[in-house]
């Protein structure tokens, strides 16, 4: 079983639209995992039934019992995250500021502070319209543990793929270069980098590829809106050559790309020409992925 992870460094490159198209092309051979839990959008194109929701708890959150509090102010003094303001002359925990370090509870003289595991999100295992299963999640506002939620989504998807003997898990990866994208990438057989020829696109591509390289994962690249800036496009291609990254395809700027999404469709269903380009990329991805040894 292989794992194909689509990432882009920053958002707005069309990553999710492309991943949805790949999911459509792969159909029943795949399990789909939406690991972009901060801004999970795949479900808008995949028509999931939001089956099997599961609450996800992680970290800790402090709570002050006002009846037990003697207002000594020690908790506020030790909290390095300014998360214990005085409101209406009571010491209270600001849930958005609390890091869950537990320090305040340890030093409160009256044991007025307790910690609980907050509900940081929901994870769903859904049937989708391509005849397979998608694991996706929704992170609660201000929650910090997206890396852990990403890991959960991925592990659920992998387990399902294993049981159902699927060819691969297709992962819509998290943005950025931080903890969530590290969780998205770990264990991947092949990475699809989606970029666009803008100065910031190239900049993000370089940064996120540093991470891919650290993991030693083979990568391919799709350049979206390739014709918008031929010069930067060339620079990207030079970079790909230098780093031995497969150029999967170059998609021209086309309003159909967004039109498809507005109509709740993947690009391959909506436009023949764009669809053909993405189908060819998918063939290349499958070929490249097949040649990579299974993880473990």
């Amino acid at each position: 079983m292989k794992e194909i992870v689509v990432i882009s460094g920053k958002g707005g490159t069309g990553k999710t639209s492309i991943t949805a198209s790949l999911a459509y092309l792969g159909g029943e051979d795949l399990i789909v995992a939406d690991c972009d839990v901060d801004a999970a959008d795949m479900h808008l194109l995949m028509a999931p039934d939001f089956g099997k929701p599961e609450d996800f708890f992680s970290g800790e959150l402090a709570y002050i019992d006002q009846d037990a509090c003697i207002k000594c102010g020690k908790c506020q003094a030790v909290c390095r995250f300014d998360a214990i303001p005085i409101i209406d002359s009571q010491y209270v925990v600001d849930p958005l500021g609390c890091e869950g370090c537990g320090y305040c509870a340890r030093i409160c003289p009256t044991e007025a502070i307790t910690n609980s595991q907050p509900n940081v999100g929901k994870c769903f295992i859904s049937s989708i319209r391509t005849g397979t299963t998608m694991v996706h999640a929704r992170l609660s506002i201000g929650a910090d543990n997206s890396g852990k939620l990403v890991a959960k989504v991925k592990n659920e998807a992998k387990a399902l793929a294993e049981i159902q003997n699927k060819i691969a898990v297709l992962v819509d990866g998290s943005p950025g270069v931080g903890c969530p994208v590290v969780s998205s990438l770990s264990g991947a057989s092949f990475t699809v980098l989606v970029t666009e020829p803008t100065v910031s696109g190239l900049h993000d591509l370089r940064r996120v590829y540093e991470l891919v390289k650290k993991f030693g994962i083979k990568a391919g690249c799709i350049i979206n809106k390739g014709d918008i800036n031929p010069e930067v496009s060339r620079e990207i291609k030079d970079f790909l050559k230098e780093e031995n990254i497969v150029l999967l395809s170059e998609i021209p700027y086309n309003v159909k790309f967004t039109e498809a999404m507005t109509n709740g469709k993947t690009i391959v269903e909506y436009d023949k020409d764009l669809g053909k380009i993405i189908s060819e990329s998918w063939e290349k991805i499958l070929r490249a992925t097949r040649s990579v040894g299974d993880p473990e």
Binding site: G9, K10, G11, G12, T13, T16, D36, D38, A39, D41, L44, E60, V78, R80, F81, L96, G97, E99, G100, C101, G102, Y103, R106, I107, L139, I141, G142, A143, D144, S146, G147, P175, G176, V177, G178, C179, E196, P197, T198, V199, S200, G201, H203, D204, R207, E210, L211, K225, I228, N229, V232, Y253, V255, T258, E259, M261, T262, G264
Partner: protein
């Protein structure tokens, strides 16, 4: 006045708006633009200004001093992030996991875990006329964005008076980093695209700023590309749309070169002017709310 520019996800044009708005405002008054997307700061690609200051930013993490340690294991017990472990006769600290809460250090009976500085990123300040630009960058592999965002905001607070318009280009999403970046803001501008993806992410962002009790308004980017779902939603929920930037290939091309848009593209100039006028129309009250100069309405 502090204005945070945010969006539910990346790539909606947050950086485009921040850089163009700040440069436009700086034509007539002092403005400080900060890029708080410390994981991947991008604004600097669009701002041409002179580097005037540079400093390393540190976080505090504990460092084990062996001599007095009694190996009681208390440090391991109190750390909620598994960042300090007792392994045989050794205490190991894992800096990437440490949140810098000081618990292990201050609760160590022998004072064997003093907090020491560790570099987490760099802050750079640039200036060009009335425009100040501050950028912080996390070193790769460093996972905690929040402390650096906080220190960057502190730097801006220390160096610029209340009269300066401060614009914060926030990180994308709805998790901790964006909360930290908008926590201090007087007003939040949410940038979105008029598509189902854009609407979905906008709703999450609106929920976030509402929960934080911040006044906010929406700017639509790439207007005309999708449908009118965002406009309908804003109308229904009584959310102001203060400007729209049209979908235009010329904009995409200009952006791709790293150039500012408003000097050459009239529609973008109109948009930043509307936003600037909208902001100017408010007085900041002592209690943090905004009062309209025209209508007296409180936000």
């Amino acid at each position: 006045m502090k204005i945070a520019i945010a969006s539910g996800k990346g790539g909606t044009g947050k950086t485009t708006l921040s850089t163009n708005l700040a440069s436009y405002i700086a034509e007539s008054r002092e403005c400080a633009l900060s890029d708080l997307d410390v994981e991947e700061p991008n604004s600097g690609l669009f701002i041409k200004a002179e580097l005037i200051h540079e400093e390393d930013k540190f976080k505090k993490i504990p460092e084990w001093e062996k001599s007095r340690c009694e190996l009681c294991g208390n440090c391991q017990t109190v750390c909620n992030f598994n960042a300090v472990l007792k392994l045989g006769k050794m205490i190991m600290v894992f800096p990437e996991l440490c949140h810098g809460c000081y618990a292990c250090s201050e609760l160590c009976p022998t004072g064997s875990l003093p907090m020491k500085q560790k570099k987490m990123g760099e802050l750079k300040a640039y200036k060009s006329g009335n425009l100040n630009f501050i950028e912080s960058r996390l070193i790769i592999g460093e996972e905690q964005a929040v402390p650096l965002i906080k220190q960057t905001i502190d730097y801006v607070d220390e160096h610029f008076s209340d009269e300066v318009i401060k614009i914060f280009d926030s990180p994308p999403g709805t998790s901790c980093p964006v909360i930290e970046a908008t926590r201090d803001a007087d007003f939040v501008i949410l940038v979105t695209e008029p598509t189902p993806f854009g609407l979905h992410d906008l709703k999450l962002a609106v929920e976030t700023v509402k929960q934080m009790g911040k006044p906010f308004a929406v700017v639509i980017n790439r207007h005309g590309i999708g449908n009118d779902c965002v406009e309908l939603y804003c109308k229904e929920d009584n959310i102001d749309i203060i400007a729209s930037i049209p979908n235009d290939r010329l904009i995409a091309e200009t952006y791709s070169r790293g150039d500012l848009l408003y000097p050459t593209i009239p529609s973008v100039k109109d948009a930043v002017r509307s936003i600037s006028t909208y902001i100017d129309n408010f007085d900041l009250l002592d209690n943090g709310s905004l009062k309209s100069k025209k209508t007296g309405q409180i936000k």
